[in-house]
């Protein structure tokens, strides 16, 4: 029977190498898997989101009070600095009254990380380059022809595309390359959180459930042995 089990090994290899791995015009996206357990990172990500993304994009499925609870944000900061609008209740969604798809076609971001994947978003945000032929003046390696302008240019600096298809930094932004990458990780972490707030508790508590069932299995195994030896 072991023969048949060996047949299953190829299957398990296929499980994770799934799909065609292409990432826009890139061979592969830069690997990144979000960490939603670093609250400070989530807060920094929220900061970037509020400063740069929230002018065009909504988070129409995330409530302010949920955000407050999960990211440990003091109520006064939430109400005065983040919401900053007495008409918005704290149980409202983070839409700022924007429509789901804004005039320039910016989609709602709540579930985007789940649709595109975390690496995709991480790579996308870092591969804008100057392209005068585009309306926005910039283009993107992961999503060629994207209508999103490179709003992060001030942080990252201006990038250009070399003839060999790689990206070069033309002028420095306010952050170094490593700092910028870290900020983008923060932002992806935050977006990953927004796409599934329950992920924090899910990943935190899962381990206890599994430990419990390991003990469960051990006890049940002993019980089974105890009876099975009678009929050996």
């Amino acid at each position: 029977m072991k023969k048949f089990l060996i047949l299953l090994i190829p299957l398990s290899i296929f499980i994770y190498s799934a799909g065609e791995n292409k990432c826009g015009s890139l061979e592969k996206c830069d690997y990144y898997s979000a960490d939603v357990h670093d609250t400070y990172s989530l807060q920094r990500g929220l900061g970037i989101y509020m400063n740069y993304c929230s002018t065009c994009h909504t988070l129409e499925l995330l409530r302010w009070n949920r955000l407050q609870r999960d990211l440990d944000i003091p109520e006064t900061i939430l109400i005065e600095d983040l919401i900053a609008n007495p008409d918005i209740k704290i149980a409202d969604y983070m839409t700022f009254g924007l429509p789901e798809v804004s005039a320039i076609g910016a989609p709602d971001l709540t579930l985007r990380t789940r649709v595109r994947g975390e690496d995709w978003i991480y790579t996308y945000l870092r591969t804008f380059y100057e392209d005068p032929e585009q309306l926005t003046g910039t283009n993107n390696l992961v999503y060629p022809g994207t209508s999103m302008p490179n709003i992060l240019v001030g942080l990252q600096g201006i990038q250009t595309l070399d003839n060999d298809g790689t990206i070069k930094l033309k002028s420095e932004g306010s952050l170094s390359r490593a700092e910028f990458d870290d900020s983008m990780k923060d932002l992806v972490n935050f977006l990953a959180y927004a796409s599934e707030p329950a992920r924090i508790t899910r990943e935190k508590n899962g381990i206890f459930v599994i430990l419990f069932f390991i003990i469960f299995t051990a006890v049940m195994w002993l019980l089974y042995r105890e009876y099975a030896k009678e009929i050996k």
């Binding site: 209740k89 006890v219 105890e226 009678e230």
Partner: protein, 262 residues
Amino acid sequence: MSKKRKHIHILDGMSLYTRDRSPFYWGYLNIGGKIFKKSLKTTDRKEAEKLLFAWKNEIFSNSMNLSDDQDHIEDHDHSKQEVIVDDKRRKALLITSGIMGAVTVAGFAVPFLSAWKPSEKAKALGASVKFDLSKLQPGAMAIVEWRRTPIFVVHQTQEAIDNLPKLNSKVTDQANDVLPSSNNKFTVLKGVCTHLSCAPKYHPEIEPKAWDQDWLGGFFCPCHGSKFDLAGRVYKGVPAPINLEIPPHTFSGNTLIIGESA
């Protein structure tokens, strides 16, 4: 490495086989429906065959003496290796696993029961509501919706306030002769009759009514005729047992916040 199990057919009712954890060939004989098995204590195939035949002949000659009973009843052959049952251990295991099982069931129940609690959406809808008091004239009542219940907000006139002590003898709960729920001017009540949940009607006018000749203003429930005064205190001798309920609320300047207690 354990050997693979294998059966080698020799003749009808005679075969050799190998076992998982034994290096030797084993013999198998079926003589007239009776089964014999034993290890031949050899790893050589030829040798094993020889031994098997020898063994068969031996049994054959012996079995002449045995009665040839068709309905022969066999023994449970596993009872040969006497199993010693340790009752204490068994009991301990049964109890531990019983507890494990109970914990599992309880653990499964938690999320399923919790899921019935008000969801975030219900809580959002049930969040506190604000009401601007500045436009409410004395003597007027506003109905504010909070958690899908009508909340009565009454701006009392001075006359109404003065009349309240006069009703002390008619209401059940005399102690409450001041406005129970006010910043002295406003009364906030749940508009749900404490009898069977109809919405009582607001009758502030001081005039004889069909239900009360000495009516000093209050609430009258059309369903079964319960009467409450303007402070929500229930009259004696009506179906409703207790005063109209007061929802949690606070005042912040001219704003009434329903759903948050001070």
